[in-house]
């Protein structure tokens, strides 16, 4: 690894962290294979890779959450055994997990002292922590009300609590796992400022992400992981997003999908003034209107958590709403008995949900049972009034699995035994084979291997070319840009604007995703800055 050598050559101090030959398998899956890595003190080191490349596993090993099968860990030049989180904390390592590890009904203070209380009585610990938090807050722009309950805090603030927890435990090395996935661009920007402050104080930061622009923006050095292996370690200043992308996927990335121009027909879906309030009483959609025509793909772009999931669920009949939705000119129920998924399917709406493992499939069911999920009332599957025709379902499933290249094409295998890509193909086969008037697709390629992505994209395009309407929701801007015929951007429960893919770019979409429309007067310099950052695609990210 030439990159690692240059990093070492530049600095003479012992690396803050050094991994040598780390391997870890989960059953038959080799999550990490012979990984070596050096991170110098006082730097921000990025680790990039696709979903499932083994980034999180590697860091969990470093934090003592998992035990490596082989390999050694050196902290500050000292060989260190990290059998559990306690040992990691002792070694000065702190971790901010992707899913926060906070006790929701505890206060910030209680969460911070948990595990590092002084003595058996709480009183002294709480008093001490209160003082320390105040200092840390001032030092690093980490302001949080110490007496607030976690469940009342925003996601961004909860993340600060996680960072405070690590700092309170005297962490010198801070690992952040996909920290911006749930943040708005402004929150992400604030986080990067905090990271810069920490670096200035001499802390070492490891940033795990799959977003190249973050790597380019804040890191000093970067390592790339692919399929459990560390493929390169580079200085950020000397690399480019294109190079990193290539290293990540192992070949030139196809940025555009080959597709014919759309030939839109009649309007299939009309959404007017749609409002949704979730279980916690939070307004998720605040008056959304748009339409989709036959033979076109409308892409919904947006940062995760801005209401696009709720939109899909309303259209798919999983969630109730107020407003008006027409399909082929006829109103559909948004509340009550006839607003469920079964009624939606009867109206020609098919739904490939965002979370296929939780919603789209019953993982314990066999493939053939999954192939009729939601369509099990179809008369074609009934033998008589009471009994289903399982034999017929099996035969049909096998044929349609063949057509969608599901591997292995065995309808008797349980869904959980298929790979992510093949699971998605099962869902797509089920939904597309019924030739719906409208197909809802959420995150079609999340967690799907490269080979399957092209097939999945092609299947969706084929349906479009067959004159069907498609609503595509994805948080991957590149997917939206390459697949859509029109793009609508959602922010905070509102459609910020519509663009044609040929007449826009990632920068403009990014601004919209941050809630800034051209007509609107810019709120303040910082937000624009953040939005620009958010929009900066692999092509023109500011080089760190």
């Amino acid at each position: 690894m030439p990159g690692a050598d240059t990093a070492e050559g530049r600095q003479t101090a012992a690396p803050a962290i050094e991994l040598r030959g780390i391997s870890k398998a989960f059953g038959p899956v080799q999550a990490n294979r012979d990984i070596s890595l050096k991170v110098m003190p006082g730097t921000i080191h990025g680790i990039v890779g696709e979903n499932g490349a083994g980034k999180s596993t590697l860091m969990s090993i470093l934090y003592g959450f998992y035990k490596a099968d082989a390999g050694e860990i050196f902290v500050g030049g000292q060989k260190t055994l990290i059998p559990d989180s306690q040992a990691a904390i002792k070694a000065g390592i702190g971790m901010v997990f992707q899913h926060f590890k906070l006790v929701q009904n505890f206060t910030v203070l209680e969460n911070v002292i948990l595990g590092v209380e002084e003595g058996a009585r709480l009183k002294a610990s709480l008093a001490k922590a209160r003082g320390s938090l105040k200092r840390l807050a001032e030092e690093y722009e980490l302001n949080v009300d110490p007496d607030a309950k976690i469940e009342d805090l925003s996601v961004g603030h909860q993340q600060r609590v996680e960072i405070l927890k690590a700092l309170y435990r005297q962490a010198d090395i801070l690992i952040l796992d996909e920290p911006t996935g749930v943040l708005t661009p402004a929150e992400a920007d604030h986080l990067f400022r905090i990271l810069d402050n920490l670096k200035a104080e001499g802390k070492t930061i490891v940033l795990i992400t799959h977003k190249l622009r973050e790597i380019m923006a804040v890191t000093d050095t970067v390592s790339v992981m692919r399929r459990g292996e560390m493929t390169a370690t580079l200085e950020t200043a000397t690399t480019s997003p294109e190079e990193l992308a290539e290293l990540m996927v192992g070949r030139k990335v196809l940025l555009r999908v080959d597709k014919k121009p759309a030939q839109p027909g009649q309007t299939v879906l009309e959404v007017e003034d749609l409002h949704v309030t979730d279980e916690d009483g939070v307004a998720r959609l605040k008056g959304v209107s748009f339409h989709v025509r036959a033979g076109e793909i409308l892409g919904i772009a947006g940062v995760a958590g801005n209401g696009q999931s709720h939109l899909l669920e309303v259209l798919g009949g999983v969630r109730e709403a107020t407003g008006r939705i027409r399909v082929n000119g006829q109103d559909i129920d948004l509340t009550g008995k006839h607003s469920d998924g079964r009624s939606r399917r009867a109206r020609g709406i098919a739904h490939v949900p965002e979370d296929r493992q939780r919603q789209g499939l019953v993982m314990a069911f066999k493939a053939w049972e999954n192939m009729i999920l939601g369509y099990h009332h179809d008369p074609a599957y009934q033998k008589n009034r009471f009994l289903m025709d399982n034999a017929a379902i099996r035969t049909e499933s096998a044929a349609s699995m063949q057509r969608f290249d599901v591997r292995p094409p065995n309808p008797n295998l349980a869904a959980r035994n298929f790979s992510g890509g093949n699971q998605q193909k099962i869902v797509l086969a089920r939904e597309i084979e019924r030739s719906p008037d409208l197909l809802l697709v959420g995150q079609p390629t999340r967690g799907v291997d490269i080979g399957a992505i092209e097939f999945i994209h092609q299947s969706i395009l084929d349906l479009r070319d067959a004159g069907k309407a498609i609503l595509l929701v994805s948080v991957e801007l590149e997917e939206i840009l390459s697949m859509s015929d029109r793009i609508a951007v959602i922010f905070d429960g509102l459609i910020m604007g519509e663009r044609l893919p040929d007449e826009t770019d990632e920068k403009e979409l990014g601004l919209l995703m941050a809630g800034i429309t051209d007509t609107e007067a810019p709120p303040d310099f910082e937000t624009i800055e953040a939005a620009l950052d958010a929009a900066a695609g692999p092509g023109d990210a500011p080089h760190g």
Partner: protein, 364 residues
């Protein structure tokens, strides 16, 4: 790939758990100074060595079939119906009402009516816990436990204050009319010229229970409702996505479960006691849990497990009669079966899974 072949999951693990439970029970027998081998022999001859023994074994098995199926159906929807005891108690009330309502001319008329009465009352007793779970998220385990106790108090009240014949000191209903007496296996087999003990209580309800097994199998694996129950049981989000309404499934699964438990009364109240007495269910509701867990919630597995427990019950009674081993030993065995097949499943499973993994690796 799954870690183990299917047959290992559905046959090997329950059998292994059972062996463990029996070994521990054997130790208990040794500890109290009896000979376990002799005990097993005594149990086998007592429960299976005569038509009298078989008559009792099948009578108990019938009870366990109903409660086992009841637990199994709810379990497919991931509902832990621990209330079969109460539902069967209420079923008894329903059967008693039906049997005492009119002087039935013939059992063939009384039987379907009693089945409906028992099922309705059992289902009704399951309805409120189901509804509270579906609509208000009240934990069904706790509510069904509470309903067991409330049901016991209700039966007590009904027998002491309402249904007791005037002048009787016994908290029980009047005897059912002769037209509501069910034919025993003795009567049924006599038609074919097969001799069977006249004293044993096994009756036509056993056939009803077998029919219930078949119906439950069809329900779970061949109907849309069964499909929806299983989908909901495995993944509620997926069920909702598929347009399945959880409230409907929870309530329906529990109603069917309660109805099955209620049907048990056709056997013990109508078929055996021929009147309703206090504590008529005698814990059969809870044995249903063990039976369903052993039988992996599959009707055929439930059938085998119910016969096994019927054998244990009758054999246990014989043990208590001829040795110093009390009947409660069966409760111990039942507890161990529940423990190993239910709670300690992983303890049995993990080593076996490792074994299969290493065997597969060895092969290729």
């Amino acid at each position: 790939m799954d870690k183990m072949p299917r047959w290992a999951d559905i046959v090997l693990i329950p059998v292994f758990s059972l062996v463990l439970a029996f070994l521990l029970s054997g130790l208990v027998i040794v500890a109290i100074g009896e000979d376990p081998v002799a005990a097993v022999k005594l149990m086998v001859t007592g429960a299976l060595g005569s038509t009298y023994g078989w008559g009792y074994t099948l009578y108990y098995a019938t009870n366990f079939l109903f409660t086992g199926l009841a637990f199994a159906v709810a379990n497919h929807a991931r509902l832990f119906n621990i209330g079969a005891e109460g539902q069967a108690t209420l079923g008894g009330l329903g059967v008693a009402f039906v049997c005492l309502a009119i002087p039935w001319p013939h059992w063939a008329l009384a039987l379907p009516a009693a089945i409906i009465g028992g099922a309705l009352f059992g289902a009704a007793w399951a309805f409120l816990p189901a509804w509270l779970q579906a609509k208000r998220g009240s934990h069904i385990v706790i509510t069904t436990i509470m309903f067991n106790f409330i049901g016991a108090s209700l039966l007590n009240y009904m027998l002491v204050n309402v249904m007791r014949p005037t002048g009787s000191m016994d908290p029980a209903t009047a005897r059912f009319p002769p037209g509501a007496h069910l034919p025993t296996l003795h009567d049924l087999l006599a038609v074919f010229g097969i001799p069977f003990s006249k004293a044993a209580p096994a009756n036509i309800s056993f056939l009803v229970a077998i029919a219930a097994c078949v119906l439950v199998w069809l329900l779970i694996w061949r109907t849309r409702l069964g499909y929806e129950i299983r989908a909901q049981g495995h993944s509620e989000p997926a069920a909702v996505y598929a347009g399945i309404r959880p409230v409907r499934i929870v309530v329906l699964a529990m109603l069917i479960s309660g109805a099955l438990a209620g049907c048990m009364a056709v056997n013990n109240v109508m078929g055996e006691a021929e009147r309703l007495v206090l504590n008529a269910v005698e814990g059969a509701g809870f044995i249903g849990i063990a039976v369903a867990l052993m039988g992996r919630s599959h009707p055929f597995g439930v059938f085998l497990a119910a016969i096994l427990f019927g054998f244990l019950y009758q054999g246990g009674a014989e043990l208590a009669l001829w040795t110093t081993i009390p009947r409660e030993l069966i409760v111990v065995i039942q507890a161990l079966v529940i423990l190993f097949t239910g709670a300690l499943d992983n303890m049995v499973r993990m080593p076996l899974e490792k074994l299969f993994l290493s065997m597969r690796k060895g092969r290729g």
